[in-house]
């Protein structure tokens, strides 16, 4: 046990000391924070540029010809003036006497079409701001004739909180239920992308650097591989925690956003659901670790390992390639095959679970199946590692090379 602890300590510490580890660990969260930050910044910039634009255009005079008679006189002032004809309005724009000119034809109410004229400027957003200006003028005009309550209705700014009931008559809360499974899926996907190669390196390193023989007289191959697997799991958990930080930051930044606050308030913190999803994530990660370890145990170098691990990766992401079959509300053979084939089961189960397509009994069965396979694969991987620890060529796959037969 002490030796396993020593291996775990050594493997974890040496990974933590590598800049490449921190780059891969922080890359995705930094990217996420960056995207969130940029999106927040661009939102802020858009708001301020609209204000600036308004200030800028308000210095200019808007001329309007209203043949439809929709414009209330109350909105007319020094900045919004009426002109008698379209030709006159256009001429004023050309001469720079007004900033913008709008022609509202007689059939405007039927066609809802108006024409706008302005001089070309370097500011690309000016056109959209100008068309908005007409809408604002029309809105201001309409508001002089109708009640404030009608404005709310007419401006289509009504938010409706929808409640959906499931078959049993309970509130279904699909969105709230999907948040944790989607996070589990995201974390798992990132883990397999980030850790695949690192796992192989960890398993193959002793063979590649010819350390196996020296180390195996001090520690058994079983203790060595268990130590390595535990260290990879610990590092995986670290990745999960680091991944959650930007998610929490995003939730904090956008807590006032109606959509985000709607999602946050609807998240179901049901302990059973959380534990079941965590079990699915942990067993799936075990399965992936075991499969990578098995590949690493059978080959002599990391380069060869990365060639063979492609098979594991394809198996894992197979459900994404057949996503329509996996996400079918009426499960077919492919849905079940991908859900229960050990390698593809984790992502298939996570996808179906995230979108409410996985009945509870299938979910339970899936966790048990992935759990059993993860242990089986880890056991075989540890045996294969013991058998091939000093085999410096690619082992042929057989019960003997997997350490299952003497």
């Amino acid at each position: 046990m002490n030796k396993i602890k020593t291996v775990v300590k050594f493997e974890v510490v040496r990974q933590l000391k590598k800049p490449s580890f921190w780059i891969s660990l922080l890359l995705i969260p930094i990217l996420m924070v960056g995207i969130i930050g940029l999106s927040a910044l661009s939102g802020y910039m858009a708001e301020s540029s609209a204000e600036e634009q308004l200030a800028k255009t308000s210095e200019n005079v808007i001329a309007i010809t209203d043949e439809a008679g929709v414009l209330a006189d109350a909105v007319l002032n020094e900045a919004i003036i009426k002109v008698d004809s379209k030709d006159e309005g256009i001429e004023k724009v050309k001469k720079g006497e007004v900033g913008e000119y709008y022609y509202i034809p007689a059939d405007f109410v039927e066609t809802k079409k108006a024409e706008g004229y302005l001089k070309q400027t370097d500011d690309a957003s000016l056109f959209s701001a100008s068309s908005a200006n007409l809408r604002n003028v029309l809105m201001a005009s309409a508001s002089t004739r109708v009640d404030a309550k009608d404005i709310v209705i007419l401006t289509n700014s009504v938010n409706v909180d929808m409640t959906t009931f499931d078959e049993s008559g309970e509130v279904s809360n699909l969105l709230g239920k999907a948040v944790i499974p989607i996070m589990v899926l995201g974390v798992f996907y990132i883990l397999i992308c980030v850790f695949g190669n690192r796992m192989l390196m960890a398993v193959v390193e002793e063979k590649e650097n010819r350390i196996s023989e020296m180390i195996l007289t001090a520690v058994s191959s079983k203790e060595l591989i268990i130590g390595k697997i535990i260290s990879l799991i610990l590092l995986g958990f670290l990745q999960m925690i680091v991944f959650l930080i930007p998610v929490l930051i995003a939730a904090f930044i956008y807590k006032d956003n109606p959509m985000i606050s709607g999602v946050l308030s609807n998240i179901e913190f049901n302990p059973v659901t959380i534990l079941a999803n965590l079990a699915l994530l942990v067993f799936s990660y075990f399965l992936f670790t075991g499969a990578c370890t098995m590949v690493g145990a059978m080959v002599p170098t990391a380069r060869e390992a990365s060639q063979y691990v492609g098979i594991v990766m394809v198996g894992m992401v197979l459900p994404l390639m057949f996503i329509s079959a996996v996400m079918s509300s009426e499960p077919n053979f492919m849905t079940y095959f991908l859900s229960y084939f050990p390698l593809s089961a984790p992502i298939a189960m996570m996808l179906r679970n995230a979108f409410g397509l996985l009945p509870w009994y299938e979910f339970v069965f899936g966790i048990i199946e992935i759990g059993i396979f993860s242990m089986l694969v880890t056991y075989v991987a540890s045996k294969a590692f013991q058998k091939n620890a000093i085999n410096f060529s690619v082992a042929k796959i057989s019960l003997k090379s997997l350490g299952l037969k003497k």
Binding site: T6, R210, I211, E213, M214, L216, A218, F392
Partner: protein
């Protein structure tokens, strides 16, 4: 022709009860890989405290024998015992310097040595490692990454890892390979020092002068069987007083000519 000569020379400073025991007993050892038999039949003993030379041409099965002795391979038949039982790393009584040896290239010298020291159950591996590095003249490399060391310096680190924890049995597979004469002498001094302390040493080497100078007994392995085995003195007598260089050429020269 196979000679079987019993060794009588042994040197040690351990207790008398231990002296009477063999540290290694190999009986009717046979091993085959994919139907190819590497060792057909091999039996020998190594007395506690002696330096034992395991000799043979390339591919004769010396390394395979050692790997099987250390439990890295399963024998097809026979018994290979250290202190009367199959070796497992839990016992941590063996220091092994394999022929195929490497280190964690990206790690610091001291970190690697401390790691191995902890695995071998050393109480203060850092202190031991620093003392050893000073002894072999590379104390200034302790905080350097292994990949920045020269081959000779790396070999010194490997030797340090092998002898740390004061192992009861030391197995050195071509220990002086790649060493310059100065470092070779340093290594020989260390081996001699350990021998004086009572450590049993098995040496696989192609330098026959080392065998004559250091070994108490030896075994010549040929075509998967023991060709000659006994004290160095007795083996020389069997070959009419030839030097080990001459014996080696006589025994394995035919193979090279084939």
């Amino acid at each position: 022709m196979t000679f079987k000569i019993l060794s009588c020379s042994c040197y040690n400073k351990r207790t008398m009860s231990e002296v009477s025991k063999n540290i290694i007993t190999v009986k009717n050892f046979k091993i085959a890989f994919n139907k190819k038999t590497v060792i057909k039949d091999m039996s020998f003993e190594v007395k506690r405290g002696e330096i034992f030379g395991l000799l043979g041409s390339n591919g004769s099965g010396k390394t395979t024998t050692i790997r099987t002795l250390l439990g890295l391979y399963e024998p097809t038949a026979g018994e290979l015992l250290i202190n009367g039982e199959r070796y497992t790393p839990e016992k941590a009584t063996v220091g092994y310097l394999p022929e195929e040896r490497g280190l964690y290239k990206k790690e610091k010298v001291i970190d690697t040595m401390v790691y191995f020291g902890e695995l071998k159950g050393l109480k203060n591996p850092k202190e031991w490692s620093l003392k050893y590095l000073k002894r072999v003249g590379i104390a200034d490399k302790a905080d350097k990454k292994i990949e920045t060391l020269s081959t000779g310096q790396q070999q010194k680190v490997q030797l340090g890892i092998t002898i740390m924890g004061d192992p009861e049995l030391l197995i050195l597979d071509e220990p002086t390979k790649g060493f310059d004469p100065v470092n070779r002498k340093l290594l020989m001094d260390i081996i001699d020092e350990l021998h004086q302390k009572g450590t049993t040493i098995i040496m696989i080497t192609h330098y026959m002068d080392e065998v004559e100078r250091l070994c108490d007994s030896a075994l010549l392995l040929k075509n998967g069987v023991v060709h000659a085995y006994g004290s160095v003195k007795d083996i020389k007598k069997q070959f009419n007083g030839m030097s080990f260089d001459q014996i080696f050429v006589k025994v394995y020269g035919e193979d090279a000519n084939e």
